[in-house]
Amino acid sequence: MDKLMQDANRFVSDMVEGLVLAHPDFYEKVEGVNVVKRKDGVSGKVGLVSGGGSGHEPAHAGFIGEGMLSAAVCGEVFTSPTPDMVLEGIKAADGGKGVLLVVKNYAGDVMNFDMAKELAEMEGIEVDTVVVNDDIAIKKESDRRGVAGTVFVHKVAGAAAQEGRSLSEVKAVAEKVISRVRSMGMALSPCYMPESGKPGFELHPDEMEIGIGIHGEKGVERKAIAPVEDIVRELVDRLTNEVTDKKIALMLNGMGGTPISELYLTYKYVHEQLIAKGYDIVRPYVGNYMTSLEMHGFSLTLLPVDDEILGLLDAPTKAIGFHS
């Protein structure tokens, strides 16, 4: 297996250590667990915690910083972190005004974050939760996964917290984003789990997967690799079926092994097709935001915006993983 690593069991802890060593003035690791927090603290504001399995870098630790997350909980690769870890994240993010948990909609994440919330409440910390489910590859809404749209939730809720809004206000704007944001992804090649050395799915080099998850879950459809214009059309058509408001922010997100050249090349076709359908792309974000190890592919996220969301998207953030 082609991976830069020392020992699969230390994949996450080595990564977290490296991140903190590279940005010593910015991050702090919570002793004994793979939880990272803002070194400058969050006192007097609502704290924002996210996380989940690792392997989605720069999510979630890369979105820590003024104007975005307060702490990130880094589970094993593609494995939801345990409640005690999440509790450490909540404590690290507690600035006295309550803590909002931004959870992606996976059974494991929901259960572990819920248990942590119960533990934190026993310690007297006010905690609330939002669950992101933007992945339209899954038909049933209650089963929809949280994918790249989560990053918009981090950004908008983080800016609202930074403005000094209350926990319920921050939660409300996070839910506004969640109710609007929709995503779908595809892969040209799978990702390989560090420990098992196996791919999430077996894929013939001439085939691609449409509607993949971000944990190596295979897609909902397998096809011959097509010219990018056709791939984009499939995703754009499905997304525009659901997202009918025309003024949108957009995220074209690389899956980890996709070179920037291909992302920008792809963006050309995304742009053309959405413009042709009458959309007004007021904020395009192109880059790696919510990845899946070294998977080669992309996801497309559409978020209808109003003035409130736009203002919060544009608010400055120090998070090193969020660039516009």
Binding site: G75, A107, K140
Partner: protein, 200 residues
Amino acid sequence: MKLTTNDLRTALLNAADKMEEHKDELTDLDREIGDGDHGINMSRGFQAVKKELEAKQDFADLGELSKLVGMTLIKTVGGASGPLYGTIFVKFANTWKGVGEAEGDALVSGFEEALEGIKTRGKADAGEKTMIDVWTPFINALKSEGDLSHAIDEGLAHSKTIMATKGRASYFGEATKGVQDPGALSSSLLLNELKEALHD
């Protein structure tokens, strides 16, 4: 039927070995209809349990033992299976607090509480192709003094045929029919060891 603290401890040590033996199989099933980590998760959790149980031989009662196991699983497994397996043992601990040996209704109610715990935590029910489909027939057999082995096997076999509607497997809909649910398989491994610990 009776379960002693020491027998439960032995059963858990054996279960840990079984998880290790079937680690790759569990992971491969999870690659089919999940995210390819179930064997890795179970191995991490049960190896941690093994370490705890090897470090401490004597437990006051089933409650103390179950609590340690539950907390260890919750803290080490992660994913969906961590809270679920953890809940099982936390429920055992609550039901069997101060109980050195469980039998009859006390024995059954520990298992019933555990199953309720899974269902509440996972917002799931029987027939959704999860570990619940192995625990349910096991408990029915325990109550009716039926054949436990047979119940486990039947549950496992039936769960393989049905469609997943909970957890990651549910993403794959129809395609999950005919594929064994990894959590059902790991539960069958655990229950087979628990069954060995139960004797008249």
